[in-house]
C-alpha cells in the first residue's frame, strides 16, 4: 500500500497525580500503535517522552538546566520492532514525581522532531496523552508553542480519558468536550480550557482514548499510487484519467515466512508428472494445451493465430441506466476511484461535464478495462458518477462486473407462505427487537454527550480488523512471555479476551436487546432438529473413519508406482505385491512393468544436477537384487550398460567410481563366473573415457 512514512513522538503523562486507569490506558494505546506498525511492516519512526519523572533527561534540559524539568525522552527515534515494544514497557516505569508540565513535554517532542528531520519523513506527528487534572500548570509558553507547531506543520493529537462528544449547536458537527462527574477546580478548568483551545490554535485533534487510536491510524495520503488511463468514447472523445484505489480488501499483516533452517538451502522447483509418475521432459518435448472435457487439446501460437493484444485504457461500450446494473454482480477485491489527470484542466472539465450529465440522466458507463499491455485481459467495468464536493472534484467509481458465464441462478421458494405467516404479536415483538437494537436513533433523540465522535454505535468507516487484531495480540503475548512451545501457546489462546470483545452487542443497547430477544423467543417456537444432528454426526464419522478412501482418487496409478521421493520404500512395497501374485505368468509380467518403472526412476535421478549418491546406491542395489530374484539377467545387464553410457555422457565420475565400481553394481552373473564372464566384467568396470579437466563439476 502506498503510504508515506511518518515520525511520531508520543508524550505520556506519568505524574503521580495522573489516575492509574489513565496511565494503564495510555500505555495500552501506545502498545497498540507500535504493534500495528510492526505487524504491518511500516517504516515509520517512533519515540517517546515522559512527563512527570523524578529525573530530567532531555536535549533541552541538557542545553539549559532550567527548562523542561521532570521530562525524560527516549534515547533514540527508531523503527518499530518487538524490541522497541519491550524497551518501551521498561521505559515507562521511570521513577515518577508530582511535578511535570505538558507544555515542556511538547517542547521536547518538537525538538526531537527537529532532530529527526534527516530521516526524511513525509509526516510529523505528536501524540499527547495527558490527564488534564487539578494540578496547576504553567502556560507562559502556550502561544509560542502553538505557533511553532502550526509553522512547523506538525500535527498534534491529544488524547485524554474524560472526553466526550456532543454535536455543535451551530454546525451540528461533532465536538469534543471535557466531562466530569464533579465540579472541576480552578486549575483543572484552566488546563481543560487550554487543551480545548489547541483545536483552534493549532488544528489539534482532541479525542477520547477510543478515538485516539482511530485518529492515529487514519492517515490521509496526498500522493497515492495512480493508474493512468484514457477513457475513449468513440475515437474522438477521450478523457485522461487517473485511477486511485479507494477501497481494497487486503491483509496488512506482514510476517517473514521461513521454510528451512538457516543452513538449509530452500529452492522452488518444477516437476513434471504423467499419471503420477515423475518424468523429466525436455522443453521441446512439451506443448501447451487445454483440457476440453476429458480430451487434451494442444494449443499454442503454431496451431492457432492468437488475437493481437488490446490497447490499454477504458474502452466505452454504452451508457446504461444505473438501476439496471445489479450490484450483486460486482466482483474483484477493490474499488477504484477515477479522477482527472492531475494538473490537466481540460480533462477535469470534461469529466465534470460527463459526471453531471450522467447524474442528470441517472446513467452509468459500461466499458472494457484493459489494465496494461502486460495484464491484457479485458474486464467489463461500470463507472458510477460522483458529483464534485468541497474537497474533491467530480469522480467516477470503477467497479468490476462478473461475466454471464459465472452467474448462478437459484430457485428459491417464496418466503410468504401460509406456514410462515406471523400473527400481530409476533410482528410486534420483531419490531421491538429492531427498535431496541437501533444503532443510530436512540442517540439522536437525546443530546447527551457520547463516547464516540460519530452519532453511531458502529460507524461503517471504523470497523476493526478482528483477525489482524487477534494476530497482533497473540504475537505480543508471545513476545512478552517468550512462549515457544505449543502448550503455552494453547494456554495463551484460552484467555478468551482476544475475541469476545468483538462478539458482543454494543454496550449501550446490550441490556435492552437481551430483553427484546427474550420476548421474541417466547413467541417463536424453535427446536433443534434431531434428524439434522444425526446427519451431522454421521457425516463427521464418515469423514473420520475412512480417510483412506477419499472417494475418487485423481490418479489411481500414483499409489501403484515408484515415485521419486521415496523410491526405495515404494519399490519394496510394490515388489511385495508382485511376490504375492500366485500366477507365475502374471507375476513375471507385473515384475517387468515394475522394473521398467524403476529403470525410469534411476535414470531420472541420474539426470538431476546434484546427485544423491546414497540414494542411488540403495536404489540400484535394490533393483539389482530384485532382478536376481526374478531371473531377469538380460534386462539388468542391458540396464548396466545404459548406466555406463549415462555416466560417460554426463561425466559422472564420482558416481561411477564410488557407486558402480566400488559397490560392484555391474552385470549379473549366473552361478560361478567363467573366464569369459570375468573378462566381460573387467571390461565393464574399466573407467569409461571421462573428460579430463572437469572433475570439479562432478564434485560441486
Amino acid at each position: 500500500m502506498a503510504s508515506n512514512k511518518e515520525c511520531l513522538i508520543i508524550i505520556l503523562d506519568v505524574r503521580n497525580s495522573a489516575s492509574e486507569e489513565f496511565k494503564l490506558k495510555s500505555v495500552k494505546c501506545v502498545a497498540e500503535i507500535i504493534k500495528d506498525k510492526i505487524v504491518g511492516g511500516k517504516k515509520d519512526y517512533v519515540s517517546f517522552v515522559l512527563v512527570g519523572c523524578e529525573n530530567s533527561d532531555n536535549d533541552l534540559y541538557t542545553a539549559d538546566n532550567k527548562v523542561c524539568q521532570n521530562v525524560v525522552q527516549y534515547s533514540n527515534t527508531q523503527l518499530c520492532t518487538w524490541q522497541l515494544l519491550l524497551s518501551f514497557f521498561k521505559f515507562v516505569n521511570e521513577p515518577t514525581c508530582d511535578a511535570g508540565e505538558w507544555l515542556d513535554g511538547l517542547a521536547v517532542a518538537m525538538a526531537m522532531q527537529q532532530v529527526a528531520l534527516p530521516l526524511k519523513c513525509a509526516r510529523q506527528r505528536i501524540l499527547l496523552l495527558y490527564d488534564f487534572n487539578y494540578m496547576s500548570q504553567g502556560y507562559d509558553d502556550y502561544n509560542h508553542i502553538c505557533d511553532n507547531l502550526l509553522n512547523a506543520g506538525i500535527e498534534l493529537i491529544v488524547g485524554s480519558h474524560n472526553i466526550a462528544y456532543i454535536d455543535n449547536a451551530e454546525t451540528s458537527l461533532p465536538q469534543a468536550i471535557f466531562q466530569s462527574s464533579r465540579k472541576p477546580n480552578i486549575h483543572e478548568l484552566e488546563n481543560q480550557n487550554r487543551a480545548l483551545q489547541l483545536v483552534s490554535n493549532c488544528n489539534a485533534v482532541l479525542c477520547s482514548f477510543k478515538e485516539t487510536l482511530a485518529s492515529v491510524f487514519k492517515v490521509s495520503n496526498r500522493r497515492p499510487w495512480v493508474w493512468n488511463a484514457k477513457l475513449h468514447i468513440g475515437s474522438v472523445i477521450a478523457i485522461s484519467l487517473q485511477g486511485i484505489i479507494a477501497m481494497k480488501a487486503e491483509s496488512h499483516i506482514k510476517l517473514k515466512k521461513v521454510w528451512g533452517e538457516a543452513e538449509e538451502l530452500v529452492e522452488r522447483e518444477e516437476r513434471f508428472f504423467i499419471k503420477g509418475t515423475e518424468v523429466t521432459p525436455l522443453p521441446q518435448d512439451l506443448i501447451d494445451g487445454y483440457m476440453l472435457g476429458g480430451t487434451p487439446v494442444p494449443y499454442d501460437e503454431t496451431l492457432v493465430e492468437l488475437p493481437p493484444s488490446h490497447a490499454p485504457g477504458l474502452h466505452f461500450v454504452g451508457f446504461v441506466k444505473h438501476s439496471s446494473i445489479p450490484d450483486v454482480y460486482f466482483c474483484g477485491d477493490s474499488l477504484y476511484m477515477l479522477v482527472h489527470q492531475k494538473g490537466n484542466t481540460t480533462s477535469a472539465q470534461k469529466l465534470d461535464a460527463l459526471v453531471r450529465a450522467l447524474i442528470a440522466q441517472k446513467c452509468v458507463i459500461l466499458c472494457w478495462k484493459i489494465f496494461s499491455v502486460k495484464f491484457n485481459t479485458p474486464r467489463i467495468v461500470v463507472l458510477i458518477p460522483q458529483e464534485s464536493t468541497e474537497d474533491r472534484p467530480a469522480t467516477l467509481y470503477m467497479q468490476e462486473l462478473s461475466y454471464h458465464a459465472q452467474h448462478q441462478f437459484w430457485d428459491f421458494p417464496s418466503l410468504r407462505t401460509e406456514k410462515t405467516e406471523c400473527n400481530k404479536d409476533q410482528l410486534k415483538a420483531v419490531d421491538n427487537l429492531i427498535d431496541s437494537m437501533d444503532l443510530e436513533c436512540t442517540l439522536k433523540d437525546t443530546q447527551q454527550p457520547r463516547q464516540r465522535r460519530q452519532n453511531d454505535l458502529l460507524p461503517f468507516d471504523g470497523l476493526p480488523s478482528i483477525y489482524e487484531q487477534n494476530v497482533m495480540d497473540v504475537l505480543e503475548r508471545k513476545v512478552i512471555c517468550r512462549a515457544a512451545d505449543d502448550e503455552q501457546f494453547q494456554e495463551m489462546l484460552q484467555d478468551k479476551n482476544f475475541v469476545d470483545i468483538f462478539w458482543r452487542v454494543p454496550e449501550p443497547i446490550e441490556e435492552k436487546s437481551k430483553q427484546a430477544a427474550a420476548a421474541l423467543k417466547k413467541l417463536f417456537p424453535l427446536e433443534h432438529s434431531h434428524a439434522w444432528l444425526e446427519k451431522l454426526k454421521a457425516k463427521e464419522q464418515e469423514q473420520n473413519s475412512a480417510p483412506a478412501i477419499k472417494q475418487e482418487r485423481p490418479d489411481p496409478i500414483s499409489i501403484d508406482s515408484v515415485g521419486l521421493m521415496t523410491p526405495v520404500q515404494d519399490y519394496k512395497q510394490l515388489l511385495q505385491n508382485v511376490r504375492s501374485e500366485l500366477n507365475t505368468t502374471k507375476r513375471d509380467a507385473q515384475f517387468q512393468s515394475l522394473a521398467a518403472q524403476m529403470r525410469v526412476v534411476v535414470i531420472t535421478l541420474l539426470e538431476r544436477s546434484k546427485l544423491d549418491l546414497n540414494q542411488l546406491n540403495e536404489v540400484i542395489k535394490l533393483y539389482r537384487d530384485s532382478c536376481l530374484e526374478f531371473n531377469s539377467f538380460t534386462e539388468y545387464n542391458q540396464f548396466a550398460t545404459q548406466l555406463k553410457t549415462k555416466a560417460t555422457e554426463r561425466n559422472l565420475q564420482q558416481f561411477w567410481n564410488t557407486i558402480v565400481v566400488e559397490k560392484q553394481l555391474g552385470p549379473l552373473v549366473l552361478g560361478e563366473p567363467t573366464l569369459e564372464d570375468e573378462l566381460r566384467l573387467k571390461k565393464f568396470y574399466t573407467n569409461p573415457e571421462f573428460e579430463v579437466d572437469t572433475e570439479m563439476q562432478d564434485d560441486s
Partner: protein, 624 residues
Amino acid sequence: MSTWNPDQDVELTDSEDEIAMKRDFNGREAILFVVDANLETERFMDALKLIRGAFISGMLVNGKDLMGLIFANTKYSPPPKEIQCLENITVSANCAVFLPLRQLTKAIVEHFMDFMQQAEELFPKEYGLAEPDGRGSFAQMIRLCIEMLEKCGKKLNNAKIVYITDVEEPHSPSSPEFQRALQKASDLDGKEFEFQVIPMIDDFDYEPFYKEFITLSRAIELDAFRVPDAQLQREILEDRKLRQDFLRRCLGHFTLSLGPNLSLSAQYYNYFQRRAYPQKVHIMRRDNSVVRKRRQIMVRQLDGETEEITHEYQIKMTGGWHECKIGDEVIRVTTEQLNRVRNLHPPGMMLLGFKHRSALPANIYSKPCNFMYPDDQNIIGSKRLFRALWQRCLEREKIAICLFMCKRKSVPRYVALLPVEAAQPDDKNYRSLLSGDGFKIVYLPEAKHIRHIDMCDWNSTGNTSTDEGVGFFQKVIRKLSVDYQPNLINDPNLEVLQSNLLALALDFKTEDDGLSQLPDPAMQNKRIEKLLPAYETLFEAEIEPAKKRAASSNSNEGSAPKIAKIEEAQLKSYDFVEELIKDKRLGACTAQQLRYILDEHFGVKPAKSSTKAALIERIESLSE
C-alpha cells in the same frame, strides 16, 4: 506466482471462500437429460440442439461434469454405443439410454452430433413412440434415472435430472400411475437428486402434475412454488445453466444468533462462481499424454565442506513457519498456531443491531455479496422467524448489522443484511433470475481497507465545466444508451480461446457474431457524428502536464541503473570486501554487487527475489 518471495510471504490471504467452493465441488456434478419422445420433430430437434449447447458449454466450462442422455416414452429400447455400461442396470420399458453418465470427451460429443444429423429420420424408426398413447410409465422412467445416477461409479455432489417435454400431464390424476409417480418424487427428495422440467412450449401449465411433483421432490410447501418462465429456462439451459435447487447447492449452513439462547438456522449462496478458464496443461508432443506440472519447495542440507547434499526433503506450501525478531532472538510462529488464532471463535453470525437502509453508503465494497435464506432443517421454526424479521426490515427499510464468520478458520467480517424480494412473476428479464426472498449479505470494508486520499492536488476552481459541456454529454448519453444485457457480455479472451479449442478439437465453427469483441469506435463515432463538431469547440485540446521524469526511451538514459558508489574492480579483492563487512558499509553496494560478492567470495547464488537487506544479512552471516 511469479511474485513468490520467501523472505516476505503474506500468507494470510483470505482464501477461505475458495476452500469452501472446493469442498463444494468435492464430488462431481451430474446432469442426466431425459427427452420425451412425444416432442414433435421440430421441437425434438430443438431439444437436441439445447443438449448439444449444454454438452459443448459443459465441456468448455466445467470439464469434469458427468452428463447422460435418455429418451423416454419410446417404443423400442435400442442399446447405447457402449452396451457393457448397462451391465447392472435394468432399462425400463419405453425408455432408451443413449448415453450413460460420462465425463464428456471429444468422441462422445462427435457421436452425439452424428446422431443429431440423422435423428429426424432415424429416431422414429429406431426408437419410435410408445404405444398406444405415447405414455410410458413416468415412475419407471424416474426409477431408471435414479439407478443410472446411483450406479455411475463416481461420487456425486450435485445430481440433476432434466426432463425436456411438452406434455403437461403424463398421467391422469385419477390413475394409479399418477400416484406411483408422486411416490417417486419423495424418493428423489430422499436421495437428494434434483428434478427439473424444461417445457418446450411457452405457456406450460404446471398445475395438473408438475407443481405437485416438483414441490414433493424438493420437500417444499405447495404455495411456495414459483412458476418459472419456460423460455428463460430454455435459454439458460443452453448455457448449461439451470435454476438451481436452493437446498443442495449452498455455500454453507450457519446459525444467526439474535440474542442469548435465540438462534435461527440459515444458509448462504453466491450470486456467481469463480471465473473458470479451461484447465491449462502440458502435453507430450509424441503421444499427447497429459503432463502435470507441480511446483515443489525443496529443502536441502548441504555438507559444509563438500557442498554435497546430505539430506533432502519436500515441504508443503502450508509448511514452514513465521518469524518475529526480538533483537537477536528469533521467535517462531507455526502455521498451525496461526490457524488456531483463526479458530478462536466458532463460526456463525451474530446480530449486532439495526440501521436505516439509507445509512449504507452507495459505494462501499469489500467483496462480492452473498444471499441468505432460512434453513428449517437444522432449527425447526427458523423459516417463520426469518420471515418475520425479513418482512419487517423490508417494510420499515431497515438493515441488520451482523458479525459473520462463515466457516471454521475463516476471517470474521462485519456484514449488512439487506432485505430483498423476488421479482414479480410477470417480470421476464434476466434480473428476475437473480434471487428470491431473503437477505442480501453485503460485506463491509474494515477501516484499514478504506484509503483516505487527500485530493488537494487535484482540486482547482477551473475544474468545473460549463452548462453547455454538461448539455453536450447529455446528448451523447442519449445517442449511445444501451440496455444492460448480462447474457451478451462475456470475456472476449475466453470466447476466442473456446472457439479456437472447439475448432481444433471438433472442427466445430462457432458463429462469429456470438463473440463479443471490444466495441468498434467507428460505430460509436457514427452515432454521435452530428455532435462531434461541438466537442472541439466546447473543450480545449488536452495538454498533458509535463512529466517529472522523462520516460526511459533507451537504456542509457532515463531510468539508468543506479550508479555504484563502490567500484566493481575493488570487489574482486576479498580483503576489501572484508573491510566493508567490518565497517558495516555493505549498504553502499548495489544489490547487483552484493550478489556478485556472494557468488565470487562465498559461492552462493541467492534467490532472485532476495531483497538488499536479505543479501547483506546473508553476507554478514557467512563472513562470521
